[in-house]
């Protein structure tokens, strides 16, 4: 086992452990937590036993393990982009809702204030100094 493998396994193990801890402390939901833990464990296994990726690749009809990792990385990247976009859209919608609520509330407040300061029928004018 070379230095890269040792470092890679250690890092993958640390990330997997952090996610498991996050799930137990209820900071990460169980389903995404399980998905991320599986991902880091798979990365650790692939680094420790590269020949396993060849076995999986050939089972899927791909010749080389490196190609399998490349395809999976591309796919993961697109899924990541999509999830980020969905999140961004939700944030955008939330921002619009906040801006709208604030704008309408401010306008109504201004109207009510103006109405309060307007003289009502029957009000006497203030005596001149």
């Amino acid at each position: 086992m070379n230095a890269f493998q040792i470092l890679g396994i250690l890092l993958s193990g640390c990330f997997a452990l952090l996610i498991v801890l996050g799930v137990f402390r209820r900071r990460i939901r169980p389903l995404p937590g399980a998905a991320w833990t599986s991902l880091w464990v798979a990365a650790g296994v692939a680094i420790a036993r590269p020949q396993l990726t060849v076995v999986v690749a050939q089972a899927l009809g791909i010749q080389r393990g490196a190609d399998l990792i490349f395809y999976v990385a591309i796919l993961a990247m697109f899924v990541g982009f999509f999830l980020t976009y969905v999140r961004l859209r939700r944030l955008d919608e939330g921002l619009t809702a906040v801006v709208r609520r604030l704008a309408v509330a401010e306008a109504r407040h201004r109207i009510e204030e103006t109405a309060q300061h307007e003289p009502r029928p029957g009000d006497r004018a203030a005596p001149a100094d």
Binding site: V86, R89, D92, E93, L95, T96, V99, R100, L102, A103, V104, E106, A107, R108, I111
Partner: protein
């Protein structure tokens, strides 16, 4: 032709004008509209050029977005505000001076008399506006697209002049913050089964309205925005 809107209709109609950096024209637009329609709400969409002050000075009620959120978002804010202000009829009107306020009575009349829930202004009916050739082509393309997607047989899909009843405005909920709202309104009219009618109107193509209007390439952005809005609705 005599204006068909009664004084009661005028008093219970809120004209919603979304505006972004329209300080140069908004005062004139508001004054023109307020000659016959007293209740004008300008939604200042985060302008930095004094649009809100100019609109207020001209007599409009101003609702201000703290940051720019787009014309669709501003329209929905205006509709929300108008509904809370007790409007019976709501009209959307562009801020760049391209609409003719004298045509408002004709637009509101079919809604006020209950003949339809939403009246849509169309520049392609009897009143022919001087439309630049490229824009005419794009607008025709948008009409075909809308007919295919929403099934509405309209002749002008991107006209900012519309009138709707209170009940219709309560059902319309614009999610497209930017320019795709024009198609989204038509979608929602179809989805909620609202009765609609087209009313011939003129569009004034001034140097200012052309400069503020959509560029030809923006059509593709609007299309993409519209498709994404449909996917994520």
């Amino acid at each position: 032709m005599a204006d068909p809107a009664t004084p009661e209709t005028r008093a219970s109609t809120v004209i919603v004008i979304p505006a972004y950096n329209e300080g140069a024209t908004i005062g004139d637009v508001v004054e023109e509209v307020r000659r016959d329609w007293p209740r004008v709400v300008v939604v200042d969409d985060g302008s930095t050029d004094g649009t809100a002050a100019a609109a207020r000075a001209a007599g409009a009620e101003v609702v201000s977005h703290a940051v720019n959120r787009g014309q669709g978002a501003a329209l929905q804010t205006g509709l929300d505000f108008g509904l809370r202000a007790g409007a019976r009829y709501l009209v959307t009107f562009d801020a760049d001076g391209q609409h003719v306020s004298e045509e408002l009575g004709r637009l509101v009349e079919p809604v006020a008399t209950g003949r339809c829930d939403v009246a849509l202004g169309s520049r392609f009916l009897e009143a022919e506006s001087e439309i630049p050739a490229v824009r005419r082509l794009l607008l025709k393309g948008a009409v075909l697209f809308t007919r295919a997607v929403s099934g509405l047989r309209v002749t002008d899909t991107h006209n900012g002049l519309r009138a709707m009843s209170r009940a219709a405005a309560e059902r319309i909920d614009l999610r497209a913050d930017r320019m795709a709202h024009a198609s989204e309104i038509l979608d929602q009219i179809a989805e909620h089964g609202l009765r609609y009618a087209e009313v011939p109107v003129h569009v004034r193509y001034t140097r200012h309205s052309r400069a503020k209007g959509q560029r030809t390439l923006d059509a593709f952005r609007v299309l993409l925005d519209y498709l994404l809005t449909r996917v994520f609705r």
